[in-house]
Subunit: 338 residues, 2 copies
Amino acid sequence: MAKRPTIIDVAKLAGVSKATVGRVINGQNDIVSEDTRSRVMHAVKQLGYERNAVAGSLRTDRTFMIALAIPDITNPFWPEVARGVQDAIEAQGYATVTVNTDWQPEREQKYLTMVRRNRFDGLIVNPIEASRTDLLNIHIPVVILGSGGYYPDMDSVGSDTAAGVDTALNHLLELGHRRIALITGRPSRNNRVRSRHDAYVAFHAKHNLQINQDLIIEKDFSEHSGYEAMHQLLHLDNPPTAVFAANDILAIGALKGAQALDWHVPEDVSIVGMDDIYAAATTSPSLTTIIKPKYETGVKAAEYLLARMSGDNIDQGRHILLPCELAVRGSTAPPRDI
Amino acid sequence: MAKRPTIIDVAKLAGVSKATVGRVINGQNDIVSEDTRSRVMHAVKQLGYERNAVAGSLRTDRTFMIALAIPDITNPFWPEVARGVQDAIEAQGYATVTVNTDWQPEREQKYLTMVRRNRFDGLIVNPIEASRTDLLNIHIPVVILGSGGYYPDMDSVGSDTAAGVDTALNHLLELGHRRIALITGRPSRNNRVRSRHDAYVAFHAKHNLQINQDLIIEKDFSEHSGYEAMHQLLHLDNPPTAVFAANDILAIGALKGAQALDWHVPEDVSIVGMDDIYAAATTSPSLTTIIKPKYETGVKAAEYLLARMSGDNIDQGRHILLPCELAVRGSTAPPRDI
DNA sequence: GCCATCAATGAGAACGTTCTCATTAAGAAC
DNA sequence: GTTCTTAATGAGAACGTTCTCATTGATGGC
């Protein structure tokens, strides 16, 4: 590899000091004469000089790079969140290293080490098991994706899942459903707040509805789990007339499970999902779902982080839950037995 | 921010030189005595020392970071490719900065500048308009995602799209279809090789089938375009009995277009897509499609890049097209008029 | 005992930028 | 003419690691 020109080469060619070259390339035009500036720019162009960000980072202790740690970029929920982060971060001259924890704590720890060693300026993370102390120990700004309950010092951006569940169940209630099942996922270690489950319970209390434990199924977040859960539900003596699934992938599995048993959706059983991934609108019938503001979540998290990296030093973390929205498509209808 | 311990602090505490500390933390155990090594590691632990990768990068001119430039992480095709790259790259101690060109040349150029200034060790790119010279001028290893026709010096990894089209059309031919339409996307500037279109033409020549230009529709790659194209096709005096769409998003649009006209799929018209995105398996009927090996493409590209970054200096680029596979699902059947 | 070899370690320069403090020259005020 | 102020620029240290060459001490061979 040919040696690349440095500011010393530029300084020699322009007949100025390297400090002056530095002033010119960093845009400090108020303290450099036009004549000097012109000579420097001429030399820069002639030599094809390009600033070495690594050297600058060593001197300033700022890399203009951040890490985004999400469970899995191939999970349809996350690309839009990532895109929101990337867009907002890049607009301020930063770059994003995106990593996949795969819901594994060891991987999460590995990435925290990476962040420290590379002197990244910030971290946006959907935590698996990382404790508050773990995250404070990297000594850079951290923004939490999801609810920030366990991280009071840090900013967090999540969706108002509880309100979303309420909206979904209310939609079903207004259609006339009284026997509504819940297919939900297993909470991760740090998410002991089982927000979907709790919201389901609260909804039943609010509307003086009896809870039937047979109508609550907890499995991992996969399409296959949704399929199996639906089979379980539809084989009950008294099956539900509607099902709320904790995310669209579970809901798609539930839809396939119903159809495999020749149950018609929505005539025989209604289904509501959550997330609004692309596939939710392509099923037949297309899924009624709760839209989570994925891109906006990413943008907001990035904004919080950028503010922190710019010197904002608020001790108490900011916690925001972005509102969800109901998208009524083809998977819900009044129950047959009205 | 508290000052972090450096190797000078460790050296002082362990009573050795900083060169010796460097030898220990870089694992050069063969030339350091066990006693010395132990003292150093003790001091490292006591001080909580962590290597500063930025300083190392400045000295060695290696960042152990690469850039991955794709059109859009939210397009369902790309997350798996990205995941393949990330997994293979990380396994060798590198980190990946993923950027979105949005099919815009100016963004692409912006990212090339970013790569140069940050002294990244390599680049994997699905090019928009970047020329061979552009890519050679960054003076680091580059691997092309897609066919590498315009970049003979660089390694490239693509899918064997032509063979995939052939397979799709053959599947339809074997079902008895003779009037097969093609919905394809507009080629980008550097992809004048219209591989899907050319493969469609070649297939017809091979089987002595007449080409009807009315059955070839070229629009941008969106679901809406697929919907409109299907409407156009089904309104012909002599509509096709089958449609091959250039990707799954087009195919999903085509499916919705047919259903909106009360055409049954696959009874009235068969549809084949390409890519095998998640949504292709969730439509009803689920889409018969050509599976592109997305994750494997990413892994292979990363392997080529890693080899280059390790010193491989082959002048002629390696070009590989990974095989595609037919996934027969519910959107294809024999034509009605047999 | 002397010399050569090798293992183990140390000293200091290098990487390329940024920043701080010093210097110089020009202009204005007295 | 002298003094003060300000704009413009320069010199050199700093950032934290890696690497090269030098040094030292121990051991083995003659």
